[in-house]
Symmetry: C2
Amino acid sequence: MKTISKIIASIIVITTLINCATNFTGKAYNFGLIPSDSTYNTLVGNVYFEAGARSNWHTHAGGQILIITDGEGYHQIEGQPKQIMKKGDVIKCPPNTKHWHGASVNSNLSQLYIVPNTDKRIVTWLEPVTDEQYKAGN
Amino acid sequence: MKTISKIIASIIVITTLINCATNFTGKAYNFGLIPSDSTYNTLVGNVYFEAGARSNWHTHAGGQILIITDGEGYHQIEGQPKQIMKKGDVIKCPPNTKHWHGASVNSNLSQLYIVPNTDKRIVTWLEPVTDEQYKAGN
C-alpha cells in the first residue's frame, strides 16, 4: 500500500509541476487544501517554490492573502518596490491588482495562499516575470 | 526596545486570554493574522489551546475552515460524532451549523482558522461544552 501511495504521490507532484509550468518560471509545486465552492467562496492551498522560481504576473478579482510558512521570497505589486517575505509574514494583495510572488534567489519558499470571494474570477494569468524584473533591487 | 516589545506582547497575551475566557473552557490563546474587512471578507488567525481547553458551542453565518498546524484536538458538529483532528488535517464547518473545537485531553492544539463570507455575521457564541460532551467517545 505504501508503494501505491508513493506512486500516486509522485503522479500528483508530476501533474502539479506540469500544470504549473505554463504560469511559473522555475519549479513550483501546488498542493490544494480547499477547492473553491459556492458555500465557502474560498480557495486555500500551499505552493512550494524552489529558489529562483516565481509565478507569472497575475490578478485575483477577489484579492489574495499569503501566509509565509517557511523560507524567504518576494512579492511585488505592479508599480511598487519588491517586498521581501519571510516565515510568519502575512501579505495581502487587493482585488484586480497585478502582482507576482516567488522564492528569493538563494532560498526556497513555502506559502499558504487564501483566495477569498471566489464567486468572482479566481485568477487571471498574465505574462512571465522577466529575469530583470525578478532581480531588480537585489 | 526589546523590553517594551516583551511587555506589549505580555499585555496582548493577557488581554487575549481574558477576552477568550467567556467563550472558552480552559486556556486558549487567540492570535489574529487578518482582521475582517469589506474587501477580503475573510478573518484569519491562529488559536493555541492547552490540553483540555475548548471553545463554547458556536455558529458562523459564512462557515469556517480549520487547518491543524500542530498537536491534536477534537471538532464536533451538533448531532454528529466527535472528530479527531491532527496536524495537517483540514476541517470545514458549514454556515449556521452549531459546532465546537479544542485540544484533546492529553495534547495541545494549534489551529489556523479561516472565516469566509464575513459580510454575514462572523460568529455567534453559545453555551459551554460540558465535561460530559467533551469526553464523550474517548
